[in-house]
Amino acid sequence: MLANLATTPFPRMANAKPKIVADKVRMSFGRVNAIEDVTCTIGEQEFVSIIGPSGCGKSTFLYLIAGFEKSSGGTISVNGTTVTRPGPDRGVVFQEFVLFPWRTVLRNITLGLEIQKVPRREAEERARKWIRLTGLSGFEDAYPATLSGGMKQRVAIARALTYEPEVLLLDEPFGALDVQTKNYMIRDLQNLWIEANKTIVMVTHSVEEAVLMADRVLVFGARPSSIVADVRIDLPHPRTVDDRRLREYQAEVTAVLSAEVDRSMSLERAHPA
């Protein structure tokens, strides 16, 4: 047990090189202010989880990093370059999997390399590693329609990892899975995050997921949202849910989050949409 602990990597340090820098980011849809003044720095190879009341704009913030949407103000830069559009340096995994139904598991996973004109043989070779690590071996030739939700999400994760983006953006990746599948996937994938060696930003609505997986949890406030808390989870990976210190972190984040949820509810009651 002790020897095992010694070899497990500790949380990636905060003093790492900044990878993603958000500076006074604002986002409004028409007259609705979704995000107001989000400023934060995410370090190289850090695993950051974003949590907040529903509708607080946390997914929108992720889409801004991905370059799918344009902010109404402020800048986001990745590797020092301002984000203006999506690019292969940032891989994305959605809650709804978003697989290409006309492609087999293998062809879904190799698409990123195919687009980058990597020869088919080499692409398949590079895909194998992630197929194995995500536990998809034997399913290479299956079509997505025949897979369960958990398997589909594995394909989406392997697909995002295979073309080797530097940043992985996860939008509620376990949100569409049932509790058992979700717990199994999280346990199963903990080592994958370590192996992947990526900067990871994960949006979630589950405090447990956030503290279990992330090095750092950013709590977004009620709309128009900004960051109300930045909690560092100082525990080695892989973690287990029954760790006492993990439960303390969970309680801490939950307390901040409930205050925000209360605030957003009372705001909604005061100004019904």
């Binding site: 991905a66 690019g87 978003v98």
Partner: protein, 274 residues
């Protein structure tokens, strides 16, 4: 799903000989019974044998026409017009549909035109085309094109509207160019809908073709053959033509489109809401 498709569907997935022979036997029995009653009634003199010549006489006439080479000319000409018109409809219909579904200018230009012209029966164009193009293959090909193109455009647009914007996001985050998005995402993404469009469009096209051939074909074509035969009151040829139209219509809609479906939608396990 049409009735015959539900009979055929389990056969393809489960090659069970008993089921297969049943699925072939059932329609043959029902059609065969009609022909048998017809044959007996015509020969016994219960019905007017001039207006309703017995099926055996129709088959004999068709056989003669086949041997003379005339029949193959009629069939070949009709299929040439149909397939050429369909191919044009699929290519241009898909491109216009994608322009409408993906671009603001496409919507602005084409949507009002399509809303205005879609309800116009295809045959209403024939007199105009006759004056513009003349009595030749081009007229009938354009009629086929018009008949099928609206259906193709319509289903392609709904196909694109049915695709999640996130599919495009994933492709763009992989660094896909516009061409790559067209070939690797849009085309396969609309395929289930496009096939539905081809199925419906080929049905309309086939009907429009036969009618157009009656109005605007100088020689050859199944529609022309029937129209020509009515001048000489050769009822066997008229019925023979109707029979062939039914057979080829069935083959095009079910066998050719069915193959396309098996190779794509059914293989992928994708359901299309109709």
């Amino acid at each position: 799903m049409s009735a015959d498709a539900t009979i055929l569907a389990p056969v393809r997935s489960r090659p069970d000989i008993r089921r297969l022979s049943l699925s072939i036997a059932r329609p043959l029995i029902s059609i065969g019974t009609v022909f048998l009653v017809w044959e007996v009634a015509a020969r016994a003199g219960w019905i007017n044998a001039f207006l309703f010549p017995p099926p055996s006489a129709i088959a004999a006439t068709l056989w003669q026409e086949l041997l003379s080479g005339e029949l193959l000319q009629h069939i070949g000409r009709s299929l040439y017009r149909l397939l050429t018109g369909m191919a044009l409809a699929v290519v241009f219909g898909t491109l216009i549909g994608i322009a409408i579904g993906m671009t603001a200018w496409g919507r602005a230009i084409f949507k009002p035109l399509i809303s205005a012209f879609m309800p116009v029966p295809t045959l209403a164009w024939t007199p105009v085309l006759l004056l513009l193009v003349g009595i030749n293959d081009r007229t009938t090909i354009i009629v086929v094109f018009i008949a099928a193109a609206f259906e193709v455009i319509y289903t392609v647009v709904s196909g694109i509207e049915g695709m999640s914007v996130r599919l495009f996001w994933v492709a763009r985050s992989m660094g896909a160019s516009r061409q790559q998005i067209f070939w690797k995402i849009i085309l396969p993404g609309i395929m289930p809908y496009l096939i539905t469009g081809i199925r419906l469009g080929s049905g309309y096209a086939w009907r429009a073709l036969i009618a157009a051939e009656m109005l605007a074909a100088s020689s050859y074509g199944l529609g022309f053959m029937i129209f020509d035969a009515s001048e000489y009151m050769t009822m066997e040829v008229i019925y023979g033509g109707i029979l062939l139209i039914a057979i080829f219509g069935y083959v095009i809609e079910n066998v050719i489109v069915g193959r396309l479906e098996a190779a794509t939608v059914e293989k992928w396990g994708v359901q299309v809401a109709r």
